[in-house]
Symmetry: C2
């Protein structure tokens, strides 16, 4: 069995693409975020989907592993999550079928693929790889704190799970459309699958957190931009340490603060009120100055997916006036988003 | 071989004590901090030392493993560190001798004991344990952020390695001398060996950092105090995430800020100026309020080991006046330290 070698190098090696997306028996879209993310942001890397009868579809061609292989797929991605973060017995036959068909398996689940004995045995027999993208490289250094060349943008948030990944992806796409030399730098499992590489920041040992962020976003050409996916929130009672290590190690020149209007309390920690956007800007700038004194906030990204188009438009205008900053919903785009992108690129 | 079992439970199970302290071939006191710490803070748990000819001594009886076993020792502690954090070939014969004599081995080094094949084989043959105190338990929860009963004090710092552990130990000792129900809560390898239990905070996966601090210091009687060893500094470019997770999870009612007069730049990161004591108080209170709105700073602990007694006395008086807070060197003690302890216990 070739487990992806010395824990290595998710940060450097490409994942085997294109993918077949495995949806299994999932019936709620909320559990298929990875599959939707891949469809929306790496469509050209997805040859099709494999879902059981009665499960949801994300609208790609339904393919068996053998059919996907014939269309060029190199791996099957587990595109769903469940509460326990583990491989279900009902999935195993499909995963085995993929290995037999010549596909590697890519997982972002908490439990490692090789802990399912049938998968470990089949991977060895068929010389396939079981790739856990939550496994960080083993050779992460302690952060040096030294300023690196190149420019960096970090999406930060008032809370978890409100649009930091989509904001970073949209900004990275806009940069590329403008011909700017740039990379999206993924920090979570879905982002890593979309980018084909990255650093699972929440799985890194705490002492190496800032070092992992330095490794993820190495020194680059002076005009190169890294657009870095954020994690957690400095205000989150469980994950703030992850956010601070990522902020320190990323040394961002620019932050964009992400927020979901209407969210009043921290996700999963309802006794904690959400901080205001202004508090979130201030704290990120205060702490971020430690490793980049030039850090600035370019603007605010609002996730208005729960509002009508006209309500969203109105709120974006209000908030931009109130905060005196560019405000946009990157998914809605429009001139507001172009102004936010302009502000990110502004030179001082 | 009985590696210390699942979930290791360093946090809950006692290490096998008393100890024989292994000093090996170390010739500089700076590399024997663990041994000195054990001698100074857990003298009753140390039956003797084992050091090679020409190595330093910490002034305990020189004993072979067999002699130590006869005097009641249950384990041999590797009381020294080296730059690579690994077991040296020259140490292996003594470690094997300890296993043969019936002692377990306790290590705080980065590399695990069982990765030395001769030790793994001997531990299995002689039914001894190889205990790596840097290995965190496996069942650490995500932090809940819920307020726990009991009182908590956290030693925080302007930097790493300037007296947070000694400050917490001295305060815990003073609490016990006053008859206050309290526990010293260790967060690093030396502290864990001194207390016989604890949580290696820098070795915990980042997502679980605050959860590990919650686990280390569980709900207790309303009048019980946990005195928690700090780690790193919120201003440290590599370790701030560790410090923030520990601060959030500890939910301290009281912080004591530790500083070494004369230190102007961060240890090992000379391009970073040290923050002032006031900045350190402010940032810890600002961030600590997130999980305990009642957090307050009781005072300042100065490590004056590099000053004369009279210079130390003068500086302590000056700083106390300037900061309008109790200031003391816990190692020097005196009325200043008693005042600092009073301030920790003050009820509001």
């Amino acid at each position: 069995m070739t487990l992806i070698p010395p824990a290595t190098d998710i940060a450097r090696l490409d994942l085997p693409r294109p993918y077949l997306l495995f949806l299994g028996d999932v019936t709620e879209a909320g559990y298929a975020k990875t599959a939707f993310g891949l469809r929306d942001w790496a469509r050209e890397q997805c040859v099709g989907e494999l879902s059981f009868a009665n499960a949801i579809s994300i609208g790609l061609p339904q393919l068996t592993p053998a059919e996907a292989k014939a269309r060029g797929a190199r791996s099957m991605v587990i595109g769903v999550a469940n509460v326990g973060g583990r491989i279900l017995d009902t999935w195993v036959p499909s995963l085995l079928e993929a290995l037999v068909a010549g596909l590697d398996i890519v997982s972002g689940m908490h439990s490692r693929l090789a802990t399912t004995p049938a998968l470990a045995a089949a991977a060895e027999r068929y010389h396939r790889r079981l790739i856990d993208v939550r496994t960080p490289p083993r050779d992460i250094p302690i952060a040096s704190g030294r300023k690196r060349s190149g420019k960096r943008l970090l999406a930060v948030g008032t809370d978890c799970a409100l649009g930091k990944k989509y904001t970073a992806l949209a900004i990275a796409r806009a940069f590329q459309q403008r011909g700017i030399d740039s990379d999206f730098r993924a920090t979570g499992q879905t982002g890593i699958m979309i980018a084909g590489r990255g650093m699972p920041m929440d799985a890194v040992v705490a002492d190496f957190e800032a070092g992992a962020a330095e490794m993820l976003s190495p020194a680059a050409e002076p005009d190169h931009w890294d657009v870095i996916e954020g994690q957690g929130s400095l205000f989150h009672p469980a994950y703030a340490g992850v956010s601070l290590g990522l902020l320190h190690g990323s040394q961002p020149d620019v932050i964009v603060v992400c927020h979901q209007p209407g969210r009043t309390h921290m996700l999963g920690h309802a006794q904690f009120e959400l901080p205001s956007i202004e508090e979130t800007i201030d704290l990120n700038l205060t702490l971020g100055r430690r490793t980049n004194p030039g850090i600035r906030c370019a603007g605010v990204s609002l996730n208005t997916s729960q509002l009508s188009a006209s309500d969203a438009q109105q709120l974006i205008a209000q908030e931009s006036k109130r905060l005196r900053l560019p405000v946009a919903d990157p998914i809605r785009g429009g001139v507001e988003f172009e102004r936010l992108v302009d502000a990110c690129l502004e030179t001082r």
